[in-house]
Each structure stands twice: as C-alpha cells, then as structure tokens.
C-alpha cells in the first residue's frame, strides 16, 4: 500500500576501521543524512552473518546495509 509517510528503519553494519570511521567523519564535518539509519559497529564486516540480517528483517527492520 503506497504511503508517503513511510519512514523505513535501516540497520547498517559497519566495519570499525572504515565505514564506522567514515560515519564519524560525517559528523565531524557536520554533514547530514537521514535519521533512518542506525549503525551497528563490527570489528570487520566479515562478522556479518546472514542470520543477523534475517533476524533484523524478521524483527521488523525495513532494510539492512553492510558497509566496510
């Protein structure tokens, strides 16, 4: 059902060395991005298991984003 108010909730799995650091940098530079993204820090994106993504989706999260 199309709904213009739809705001997805997105989990981002980020490698602590690169993507997570980049997200911090975005803050230092006072850039702005949508608030829908909640970042989960991982030691390496290699830690991301299909299980984590599926569980996230099952719990109602609308999207999963892996960056590293």
């Amino acid at each position: 059902m199309p709904n213009n108010d739809f705001e997805p909730q997105i989990i981002a799995f980020c490698c602590r060395y690169c993507a997570y650091a980049a997200a911090d940098l975005a803050g230092s530079m006072r850039l702005s991005y949508p608030g829908n993204i909640k970042i989960v820090q991982l030691p390496c994106t290699g830690r991301v298991d299909v299980l984590h993504m599926l569980k996230a989706l099952e719990s109602g999260v609308d999207g999963v984003f892996v960056a590293g």
Partner: protein, 1477 residues
C-alpha cells in the same frame, strides 16, 4: 662520558615514519617522546586522499595508528614542539625542547569544536594546502591526534601591544568584519570603557604600529571603534558590562576625568561601592572641560558616563576634596581606598613679559571657560602659542567664537608638532595659519591690554634629548604681530590642594605624585593615583589605562592580595610575514563636515564611517597575530579549556637515542613562471589535488577545479616539477614518488568524474619501480585509458574560460600543444627550508641535496652516533619505504639501548576484578551532554529518563562531560555504590573514547568488556543538527540498542602466554645477516639458517654499493661478527623440515647436511629472508656468445680480472631484460642503477670507450639520479627502445656482436658493434614453494612474498610472529635490504621484547566443539591462519593468532565458532531492539 643509559627515545616528526618508529619502540619496552611541530601528528600521509598501488583511503589506514599513538601509555605526544639542542652522547642525550603554546588545555578539551564556531578569524587552511579557510581556533583535521583543538597565535598584534590600554584591536576588528558589532564592543569594553570618546580623541598609537602601514596605510582603528560605540548608543539598549555582586567596601575617586571614570568603571565591575568627587559642576575632566565639543560632542561623553552611572557609581559634583571634605574625613566614613585622578589643569606660564595682561588667556583656562558656558571676548586676531592639541583646540575654538584671524605660533617645524595630524589638517582646512619656527619673546601692552606680540624666528639645531631638533633663536629676526588676545597653550600641571596633612604621599620635583609605576600606589598605602596627575599632561588612553591599573591595585589592596604579582604584561610582537601582506587597498577616509559649515559653530566635524565603509576598512586588517585575542572561544568553551596567556615553554628531557623523521615539504612551484602556478587557480600542486579529491577536503570530495568549482573534462599532470631540474631549482635528484602518485591521481580522478574525463601525464621517464607499481601503470594505460606523453614541457599558459594551454616538446623534437581545464603539477619533495639550521642545532650532516647524510651500509644512521634518521628526511621516498626505515631506525636505537629496555616504561596497577557471575544485569546508563554538542540539540534529560525504563537499568544520569576526570571518578563511585555490573555511556565515538571508559570501569573493578557505547554525538546530534526531535528519538534508539547488547556482555579474560626470546632467521644473505645481527644486539637469541655452506648470498657477487662502499669488505666484517656473536647460532647447509606453533612459541625442525639427526629449535618469532636470484636470459644470444653477460657475470668477471676494460672499445647495456614483460610485469628496481654505476666505471677507467645504455625508462630514483647525470656528463650514450620494437643482438659476418636498435630521436635504426653486451636481467625470487607452504605465507603471482599491508606493514605477514626482508619480498638494492632487515628485527622485537603476550578478549572461540565437522571453512576463510585442525579432527583456534575479525564465526556452517563480545546473541539482541520502541 660514563653516564647511565636512558631507556627512552625521542622521535622527532609525527608523520608516518615517526609514528611507526614510536610504536615499534613503545611496543618493545622503551618510553617514547614523539615530538611534532604541528598541532597533531599524521604528517603528509594524513593529507593524502588515496595511496598507491592499492588505492586504500590514506586516512582510513593511518587513523588506527594515530589512535594507537594517542592512547599508548608509553608514547608521550609532544605537539607544537621543536628540538632546540641535543647535548650529551649516545645512550644519554639531553634534549632541549621548545614547546609552543597550544592555548587549549588538552586535559580539558573535549574536541567539541565550539571554539572554532565562534572564532571570527578566517585564515588559510594549510592542511587543505591553502584551498580552503579555517579559523584560528582549529583542529588540524577531524581525525587529528591528540584529539583536541588548538589556537593558532603568532603573538600579539602590534595594535594591541601598543595600545596603552591593550585593547584586543585585531579581535574587535575581526568581529566587526563579521557584523558582530555587539561582541566587538563588548570585547573593547573589557579593557577600555570609552570606545566612543577614544574613537574621537585618541592619539591612536595603535595605528602608528599597524603593520598595514608597510603595505599602504595603517588601518583606521580609531574610526572603527567609534563606529562600534555609535552603533551601540543608537541601538537604544547600550551594552552594560556584567558586574560581580555588590560588595560592602567603598572607594572614593577624586576627579571625574578619564582616569577617575575608568577606575570607577572597573571597580564597579568588581562590585565595589564607588563615589566619584568632582570639583567642577560637570563630569568628564579634560574630556568636557578641555576638548571642544566639535571634536568630542558632549552627548558622547555623557552616554559613556551614563553606563558607569547605571553600574551604580555615585557622582558628587561641585565637591572639592581638600576643601569641602578631606581624605581623613572620608577615611572615617569607611572609604577603604582612594584614587586621585585630578588631572593637570593648571596652565604652565610662558615666562615672558606681559603674560598677566588682560587679553592673555592660558589655554586650558580659556577652554574651560568656554566649555562651562562662560563668554570670552577675544577679538579678531588671536595668537595661540603651542603645537599641542590644547593649542589646536584653542585656536579652533577661537575661530568658532567669532575671531576672524586666530593663528598658531609654534617654535619648531610642522613635522614636530605634537598635536594629532588630523587636527592639524582640520585647522589648515579651516584656513587657520600656523606660524612655525616662531617663538614669542614678549607681549606688548596698550592700556593694560594686549596689543601685540613680539616674536623671534627660530632655526633647528642639533637634536635634543627628546630626539627632536632643538629650536634656536635666530638673532636679529625679531618682529611684532598686532594681536587682540594671546592664548599660551604650552602645557599644564596639577593643583594638589586635595592633599591635606592626613595624606602621607609626596610629590616629585615636577609636581606630580610619586607612585609605584606598576601598581600606582602612593606612599600612603590606601591612596592611589593615575592620569595626568602622575604623568603630567598626557593622553586620554594613557589616563584610561592608569585608571584600570589603579582599579586592579585597589581591588587587591582591599582584598589583602599582593599588588605586584603578575603586573608586567609582556607581548610577543608579531613580525609580519611578507606573504600575508596582500595587495594594496586604500584606507577609508573619514567624512567631514565641510569647513564652511563648521567654522562658526561647535557641530561635530568628523561624521563617522558608515557600516559599508567599516566593513571595507575591517577587511584591510592583516590579521597579524592570526588569533585576534577576541576571547569568544573562552566564552564558548564550557569545559574552560582555552588558555590564551600560555607562553612558549622550554623543556629538557633525557633520552638514550634520537630518531629524526621530520619529513619533507612539497616543492613550491611558485618560482616557475612557465607553469603559471602563482597566477592561475586551475594550476594546482599534486598535494592540492589530493585535497581536492579527498572527501574531507575543501570541495568535500567533488572533483572540481578551483576557479569555478566545475568538474574538469581534461586534466594534465606535469611531472618532475622541482625534481630532476637544475635550471629553475637546484633539485637534481628524482623525488621517487611522483610518477606513481600522478598515475594514481589520474585513475582516481576518472573514478570521481561524472562524465568522460580525459587524463594526460606529461613525463620524461616513467619510474614505477616499486612492488606492484608496474602493473598499476599498465592498468592505467590499458584499462583506464590514461594518456602518457613522453615530453618536456615548454609552457603552461592561461586561456579564456580559465583553461590552460600546454606547449610541449616530444621525444622526436616536435613542438605540440593541448588545452586542459586543470593542470596538476607533480611537485617533488624538498627538505624543509630551515633544515640546514636544524641540522646544525642537532649536530648532524646533510648531503648536498639538503637531506640527512647517510651511507648505503648504514642507511638509518646519521653522522652523529645515537641519532638515527628515517622517512623522507633521509631522502625522497614513498610510504612503505618510510615505514620500513622507521622500524629500522627503531631497531638501530634499540640495539644501543638493549641493556636499559623496560627501565622507563609505565604500567597500570589495577584493583582485582569483581566476580559478577550469577548476578542479574544491573546496568548504569550515563548520557553525556558534551557541553552543548549533544545537549544543545537532543533532549538529554528525556533520553536519560527514557533509559530508566529499559530492562535491567538501575541507574541513569546525564553529565555535562562524561569524559571529564570528575565525571569518571563519579562513575566509579556510582558503580560501587549501586553494585552496577554493566555500563552504557551514550556520548561520542567508541573509536576515540571506548578505551577511556573501559579503563574507568576496570578501575572500579569491573571487567572492561561489560561496557557498551551509544554514539549519540558523531553519528547523531552532529548529523541531525537541524532536527532536534529526530536526534532525540534516534538517541533513544541508540541507547536502547546499547542496553540490549550490554545485558548480554560477559567478562572476557586475557591470559598471559610466555614468549621465547629467540628468533629463527631463514636465509643467510645480507637481509638474514643484518636481521640476525640486529636481533642479537638487542639481546635476542638467533638461529640463522642458511642452505648453502657459507653466508653472504648474492652479495658475494657484488663489488660496491652505488655510493661506492666496498661490499666484500663489509661482508667479511659482518660474517666474522656473526660467527663469533654469543647470541647467534649460524646453521649452514641446512634446511627447514617442519615448523609449528603460535606466536611467541614456535618450534622448528632443521636438517643439516652431513648430520644424521634433524634437530628442533624453539623460537618466538621467524624472519624469512630467502632471497632472490638473477634471471638467466634466453634472449640476446645469452649463453651463446661469451661477450653477452649479465650484470653479475660482468661483476664477477671484473672481480676476477677476467675483463680488461682498457682494451674494450664499446660496451652496450640492455635494460629490462626479463623485467617489465608480460611474464614478469614488474621492474627489478636495481638494474638501472647497476648499469649506470658500471657504465661510469668503464668511462672512468677508459674514457675513449663507447658506452651505450639501451633502455626503456631510466629509473635512477632518489639521489641515484646523480649517477644518471654523471653518466651523461661522461659521455655515456642513451638510446631508448619500446616493447614493441626490441633491440636485436646478432653476430655480423665477421662473428662480431652486432646490436641493432631504433634511435628514438632520429627514428632510424642504429647498428652498434660492442665488445660486450651487458644484460640488465631481472631479479627473481628464489623458489621456495615448499618452505613458504610450511610457514603458511602467501606469495604473489611473481613468487614474491606478500606482506600484511603494502603500505603500512611492509615487513609483516598477515599472520603474527613472522616477518620478511630482502629480495624474497621484492627486488631492492643493498641499502634498502639492510633497512628492511633491521625493520623485520624491530617488528619481531615488538613481540620478543615481552615476557608474555596477552591472549584472549575479542577473539573467536569454539563454543560447541563437539559439533565441529572439521569442514575447513574456517581454516580457508581466516586471513591470519588462526584455526587449525587439532586432534580428533576438531578445529582449534589459536587465540594468539586471532585478530578478532569474526569471519570464521560468520562462515562456520555449524555455528560452533563465535566471536567474543560480538556473539550472535549480543548482535541479534542489539539489532532486534531497534524495533522494540
């Protein structure tokens, strides 16, 4: 000197080389002082966008090293610090350091950036290579370490230093320039209560000192603050200073002139009850009595006095102290102190005849009468005597009162008149005559009234004590002028009737009161005095300063404090850098009321600048001090970290060794007019282009050209700018890195481009000699279509549309041209300008190029024992080479300090950990406001209260700064009090702060892993600044997720494992021997295994290093040392049979030839130096004709005397034989140098011999370029060939060698008949497949060992405890081999120097071993070789090898592996809690 050795090392230079050296040393038992000139470490690498050849983000890879350095217990970062002097000797140096002030206390700074936001100074951002601006309050770059701000201040601007009241002039101008008028006024009024008054009548010494005077004219500082004051009055709500709460003490002030009023103002600010007694009916002293209203309108004085009245000061006019009241009486009324500011209003007499006649009005009396409303009838002709402001005021007042012809008589010349220049000019405007060099002799009378004045002409003689030429009367030049009145205005003195007997103060011979010059306290302790009464007639602003100083003294006197302490203020004067001068901008002129409209009235003459002119004028400020001392940052900084008054500190430390890594500076191409760099925004240096590409750069990573910020369609790179050039600069050397970075920039630029981007590199020789560089070059050319044009640049000229026209000459001598949108100059590396001076201070030699002088066989040793060098300071080089040398330098330092390792390191002592087993989670949540960084946007109390509702949360609170020391102490107390067993901090980033909080909870007895952070600043309030509701909601989510995870956190324990302090070195060539020797010298047992029956490897075949050192002599020495070293066991003719174990505890079995039984050694680390060999060519008749030989053949033949150079007529070298081919797409790095060196030797020994070098690109990188130059000078002929047309070697019909090659200039084939053809054949790695497999180390397609990281871990393997060096890694010359070997030793010592290593923590573990199917997925996926199949076919994970990446846990199909602290339960709980709002 037999002084004790020190277990600490100073590393100078915080670039990547310094960082690596510091980390290696700190990790192997030494205390390190890391000294850096800038405010943060990181050096040039931090400025780069990407690094070649892996295209890694430079910041991403250096950042963890920055953090490690910043947090290391045994590295002391000393930023903004320089070495002044090094005395003492190796083992015990005394280093004198100079620490420049940061002006921000790092202990308090939270890096929130509020100071930067309010700073009005826009200055060049040097980190962005000048392409952007930053503030004076700055952080060098966001990831900079130490993670804190700094304030860049050059000293105090001369305007402030010169102003008697020391008003922050540059500061109020900067604020005014931003339209922040109120703040500007407020700043002014911190030091000076009369911006409006002084804006009109100040003698503005500030303008006299203004550096702008050397560019055009000084700034109109006075007019600017006048504007501020007028703007404030007209606002209707004038600024009121903040006052402290009212005190009981009363102070009496005698005299309401500027000194008295100022004293009242500052005392009232302090909260005192102040009464001002004024003898006259009106307030203001000379401001109202002396200065005419056309100069200083009464409403201005009144408005500024009204502020003081509003502050609660009582004014009593018409009360004369000494007559109506005495000081003694006031003392009885509880006045605790007195300020005497009675001025100097009694006129000095001329001392000539007729002075008391009617019609003679002393200047101040006259002005006082007029200004108090009395009528004075002067007549038309009025002679005013004097050249000061009182004289000017008198003569202009006379004009305004109706005198037709008032004039000035002054005894010196116009230049020497003490009156303000403006006022003299206004006088002349008003047609007032000024008679100079004229002196009155007497006043003539008629009927007891003035009739005339007799004067004498003066001439100027010798200078007197005031420096002015003394006027002397010209005898016989007397003349008489008819006048109606005479106004003598030659000075004033004070009337001291106020000092009655109960005052113990005394007067000087000049009639001024004697006071202490600093405190203004008189001989009677409760009486203070200032202004003209002390100085004699002086200026308003000096009186104001005196009033202010007296107020400080009176406050201290009443409070019983020391009056003298800290009174002298010293200012470091700024010397203006000629570069910052800028172009000439005319000074804004003050608009005047036209002379005809002002001459007959008292209307204000100067009309004031309007806002537009104020901005234009403020813009002219040269910002001399950089920081303007506007103190906005002080107000903005909630933790109170800003400290403006800190001064440069001298420090002295003692260290055992010094490592110098000060790096380089990019060559400044401004000197090359042909490149148009200085005049065109679209000609940029390569460093500027790095910033253009960088996501954190001036254009946020959008690749645009500076002129119009549009994306370029064609970009050109010009190589060798400031390198290989002795015409425009004296940089004859090759900078070694520019070819590769240009290719990288071209490739990355194409990736950034939204459309088709055409990239062209104009080069002379393509020098891609490093590991994987040639492949990168090939890919750029073939896949990415980067154009490469072998050429010489003629000129780069601007075209319309901001385009650039490049004219260039190609190899075949043609001149061509092309047009580009952007031109990047690939600038070389220069030694820093002050390097010569620095080297002298440090006592080390430089080479002829200005870099540190080193020898090939001791590549990291300076000329002074105990001082080592590395990085680009040693010579131009890339990052991996710098890193390698840094480790080598660390090793060299550790070798001499081996006995004192571990003597100065710090360790933490901690309480025992609390056992929380079986406890329900009891979570404490601490939400940080971060000043206003979080709290100013998100609703922190709401987040805090929300956290209380979450499961297991037993304590919540919010802190202003959770990271401050008091908050941390508080957290520890709360943990104990509430028996909290898990902690969540919601604040900034775990990358910077997690370990701080982990340490805190550990100190409270909690396991550090019972901790979680919610990043609600960097990833929340900073990115959602404009949406507070969203930020609050997201903070709630993030806190909930952190709480959900921490509930599952378990204590993790790290256990110590012993380390065997012994190393196995495999390979006995130069690399193996040097590594073994370095380790042995550092106290480590070494087993050096060599498969041959002698040590030396390839070096046995070499004659000299390129610098000419004798390799055979070196070999003989080192072999003798090794064979006799107590720590070294040399095992010859031996092979490795098997190896096993974990880092720190390896066990390797060795089989020696002719020995029956293999034997096993135990060692903590392994270094593989298995070497390489020369390629045996199949081409060019090699092996078929005795005259065709390889380099090593030739060297051997020469060594054994089998070749007689004297008899040979011609020799040809063919380069790249077997290198840079499709089969071996790499450059062998050493062959060009080798050929050049051999060719030179041939020319030296037999100058008539023809020597040809047939080459593709001459790769004499670095200082080896000197060899290339020498070879050409000696007549060696160079002929270039391409891969598609190889030279041919045949036998001619006479059986002679015939070499045919196409001449690259003429385009015709050339036939040569050399006696010998030398093939510069490739370097191959030795084949050791079995050995490498045994050690589980990877090789690349060419068979070279693969390092853990091409840039930053060049001698490490991904697996812990095993290292490499020498030709097995990549072809390299002897000096680089030695450096790399020492580097491998250094890296090994970071492990071997420890007694134990801690194992565990965030590592993968087997949780259900029984379910392991032994499928090997984990073994194959682990990059570090941590899992192995143990007994019973079940996987065992070696914790010591595990790096905690978690790949195995994700990959394991049976889910028997988990990663601690990132378990499925923890992650799923965290992720799923997002939707549980």
């Amino acid at each position: 000197m037999s002084e004790e050795q020190k277990g600490s090392v100073l590393v100078a230079g915080g670039g990547i080389a310094g960082i690596q050296a510091a980390l290696d040393l700190a990790n192997s038992g030494f205390y390190v002082y890391l000294v850096e000139r800038q405010s943060a470490i990181g050096g040039t690498m931090a400025q780069l966008d990407k690094t070649f050849p892996t295209n890694d983000c430079s910041m991403c890879i250096i950042s963890p090293k920055l953090v490690e350095c910043g947090r290391h217990l045994n590295i002391e970062l000393m930023t903004l610090t320089e070495i002044d002097k090094i005395s003492g000797a190796s083992g015990n140096f005394e280093v004198a350091l100079k620490e420049f002030p940061r002006h921000v206390n790092l202990e308090k700074c939270t890096a929130c950036g509020e100071c930067q936001k309010v700073c009005p100074m826009d200055i060049k951002n040097t980190f962005d290579a000048g392409l952007a601006q930053r503030q004076a309050a700055y952080k060098l770059y966001p990831q900079g370490m130490p993670s804190g701000y700094a304030i860049e201040k050059k000293g105090t601007a001369p305007c402030k230093a010169t102003c008697p009241a020391h008003v922050s002039v540059q500061g109020f101008i900067a604020l005014a320039n931003k339209g922040r008028y109120r703040e500007a006024l407020e700043l002014f009024k911190q030091e000076h209560p009369f911006p409006g008054v002084c804006g009109r009548v100040c003698h503005h010494p500030c303008e006299g000192a203004c550096n702008r005077k050397d560019v055009d004219q000084p700034l109109s500082i006075q007019y600017l603050h006048r504007f501020l004051a007028d703007h404030d009055f007209s606002s209707g709500k004038p600024f009121m200073p903040e006052q402290k709460s009212l005190r009981d003490e009363k102070v009496a002030i005698v005299g309401s002139g500027p000194a008295g009023l100022t004293c009242a103002y500052f005392l009232a600010k302090e909260g005192y009850q102040v009464t001002v007694f004024e003898k006259q009916a009106i307030l203001g002293g000379m401001l109202t009595l002396g200065i005419p209203a056309y100069r200083l309108p009464r409403h201005v004085v009144e408005a500024e006095i009204q502020i003081i009245r509003n502050m609660g000061v009582t004014f009593r006019t018409g009360v004369e102290i000494g007559k109506d009241f005495t000081v003694g009486q006031l003392r009885k009324q509880d006045f605790a102190a007195f300020f005497i500011g009675i001025g100097a209003q009694a006129c000095k007499s001329l001392g000539i005849e007729g002075e008391d006649l009617e019609g003679v009005y002393p200047g101040v009396d006259f002005l006082l009468k007029v200004n108090t409303g009395h009528k004075v009838k002067l007549g038309d002709r009025v002679a005013v005597i004097g050249g000061g402001n009182v004289a000017m005021d008198s003569v202009r007042t006379a004009l305004r009162l109706g005198s037709a012809e008032p004039f000035i008589i002054y005894r010196r010349s116009m230049e020497e008149m003490p009156a303000a220049k403006e006022e003299i000019a206004e006088c002349l405007d008003e047609q007032i005559r000024i008679m100079t060099l004229t002196h009155p002799v007497r006043i003539l009378a008629e009927n007891g009234k003035v009739r005339a004045i007799e004067c004498i002409k003066m001439v100027l003689g010798e200078p007197d004590e005031s420096g002015r030429r003394r006027p002397e009367p010209l005898p016989g030049s007397e003349f008489i002028i008819e006048v109606d009145a005479v106004i003598p205005a030659i000075g004033q003195e004070s009337d001291w009737a106020c000092l009655t007997d109960e005052c113990a103060c005394t007067l000087s011979d000049w009639g001024t009161m004697k006071v202490d010059s600093a405190t203004l306290q008189s001989e009677d302790p409760d009486i203070f005095a200032g202004g003209d009464a002390i100085t004699g007639p002086a200026t308003v602003v000096e009186a104001i300063e005196a009033g202010k100083q007296a107020a400080i003294s009176i406050h201290r006197f009443i409070q019983g404090e020391d009056l003298q302490q800290g009174r002298s203020r010293e200012f470091t004067n700024v010397v203006l850098d000629p570069e910052t001068r800028g172009k000439s901008i005319p000074r804004q002129k003050m608009p005047h009321l036209a002379a005809r409209r002002r001459m007959k009235n008292f209307n204000e003459v100067q009309l004031g600048l309007d806002e537009i002119r104020v901005r234009l004028e403020a813009e002219r400020c040269l910002q001399c001090g950089i920081c303007s001392e506007c103190y906005q940052c002080v107000k903005a900084c909630l933790p109170g970290a800003v400290e403006h008054e800190t001064l440069t500190k001298q420090k002295s430390i003692r260290v055992g060794a010094v490592i110098l890594a000060p790096g380089f500076v990019p060559f400044d191409p401004g000197a090359y007019p042909t490149y148009s760099y200085a005049g065109h925004p679209n000609v940029v240096t390569s460093l500027e282009f790095e910033r253009i590409l960088s996501a954190s750069g001036p254009f946020k990573g959008h690749m645009v050209r500076p002129s119009d910020q549009r994306e370029p369609k064609r970009i050109a790179w010009v190589q060798c700018v400031g390198s290989r050039d002795i015409n425009a600069c004296d940089h004859s050397y090759c900078s070694g890195v520019c070819c590769m970075y240009a290719i990288k920039q071209a490739v990355i630029a194409k990736e950034h481009s939204h459309g088709e981007l055409d990239t062209t590199i104009f080069f002379m020789d393509m020098r891609t000699y490093g590991k994987d560089f040639e492949k990168y070059y090939d890919r750029a050319r073939e896949e990415k279509q980067v154009n490469f044009i072998r050429s010489r640049i003629h000129s780069v000229d601007p075209l319309p549309n901001d385009q650039l026209h490049i004219r260039f000459g190609t190899e075949d001598g043609k001149i061509k041209d092309e047009v580009f949108d952007l031109v990047v100059l690939s600038v070389g590396m220069s030694p820093a300008e002050d390097m010569k001076e620095t080297a002298q201070k440090l006592g080390i030699d430089l080479n002829q190029h200005g870099f540190a002088a080193t020898r090939n066989l001791t590549p990291v040793s300076s000329s002074r024992e105990g001082i080592f060098v590395c990085g680009a300071f040693q010579g131009p080089k890339d990052i991996p080479q710098s890193v390698m040398e840094a480790s080598a330098a660390a090793s060299a330092a550790a070798e001499i300090l081996s006995d004192v390792r571990g003597t100065e390191v710090l360790t933490r002592s901690l309480p025992p950990e609390r056992n929380i087993q079986g406890e329900e989670p009891r979570i404490g949540v601490f939400v940080c406001n971060c000043g206003i960084n979080i709290g100013g946007i998100a609703d922190v109390p709401a987040v805090r209260d929300y956290a209380r509702s979450l499961p297991h949360v037993v304590h919540v609170e919010d802190n202003l700064f959770t990271c401050s020391q008091d908050s941390q102490d508080h957290i520890k107390a709360v943990i104990e009090e509430k028996q909290i067993n898990r902690v969540v901090v919601a604040s900034c980033s775990p990358r910077t702060h997690e370990s701080i909080f982990q340490d805190t909870i550990r100190e409270a007895g909690l396991n550090p892993y019972l901790f979680e952070m919610a990043n609600i600043r960097d990833q929340n309030t900073w990115v959602h600044m404009n949406n507070p509701d969203l930020a609050t909601a997201k903070a709630r989510d993030l806190v909930r997720m952190a709480v959900a995870k921490v509930a599952w956190n378990e204590p993790l324990f790290r256990v110590p494992i012993g380390v065997i302090r012994a190393a196995l070195v495999v390979g006995g060539g130069v690399a193996g021997m040097e590594a073994a020797l370095s380790l042995a010298e550092q106290g480590c047992k070494v087993h050096l295994v060599e498969q041959n029956d002698e040590l030396g490897g390839n070096a046995r075949l070499l004659r000299n290093t390129w610098q000419g050192e004798d390799i055979q002599a070196y070999l003989a020495d080192i072999i003798t040392i090794l064979m006799n070293h107590p720590n070294i066991e040399v095992i010859l003719s031996a092979k490795i049979q098997r190896t096993a174990g974990i880092p720190g505890n390896f066990s390797t079995t060795i089989q020696q030839k002719d020995v029956a039984q293999p034997f096993t050694i135990e060692h903590g680390a392994t270094i593989l130096t298995t070497g390489g060999r020369e390629y045996q060519p199949e081409e060019y008749l090699y092996g078929k004709h005795a005259g065709v030989m390889t380099h090593l053949d030739l060297d051997t033949a020469l060594l054994r005397g089998k070749v007689d150079l004297k008899k040979m007529k011609a020799v040809a070298f063919i380069q790249c034989v077997g290198s840079r081919t499709p089969e071996r797409p790499y450059c062998s790095r050493i062959c060009c140098t080798h050929s050049l060196k051999s060719a030179i030797r041939m020319k030296v020994e037999n100058p008539s011999m023809k020597v040809f070098i047939i080459y593709r690109d001459i790769r004499s990188y670095g200082f080896r370029e000197d060899l290339y130059q020498e070879a050409r000078q000696r007549g060696v002929l160079f002929i270039r060939y391409d891969m598609d047309l190889l030279p041919e070697v045949d036998l001619d019909p006479d059986g002679r060698l015939q070499l045919t090659v196409l001449d690259h200039v003429m385009g015709v084939p050339v036939s040569l008949h050399p006696d010998v053809v030398v093939l510069a054949s490739a370097v191959l790695p030795n084949e050791n497949a079995g050995l490498f497999e045994m050690f589980k180390v990877p090789v690349n397609p060419e068979g070279f060992l693969v390092e853990a990281h091409a840039k930053l871990r060049p001698v490490d393997f991904a697996s812990e405890g095993i290292f490499m060096a020498g030709l097995a890694h990549y072809p390299k010359p002897v000096e680089e081999t030695i450096a790399q070997a020492k580097a491998a030793a250094s890296r090994a010592m970071t492990l071997l120097a420890r007694d134990t290593i801690m194992v565990g923590g965030v590592v993968a573990v087997m949780q259900h071993s029984a379910s392991c199917a032994g499928c090997l997925v984990c073994l194959r996926s682990c990059p570090f070789g941590a899992p192995r199949i143990g007994k019973e076919g079940i996987v065992v994970i070696e914790s010591v090898k595990c790096q905690g990446c978690g790949i195995c846990a994700a990959e394991c199909p049976a889910k028997v592996i988990t990663l601690q602290n990132f378990t499925d339960d923890q992650l799923i709980s965290k992720v799923c809690s997002l939707m549980e709002a």
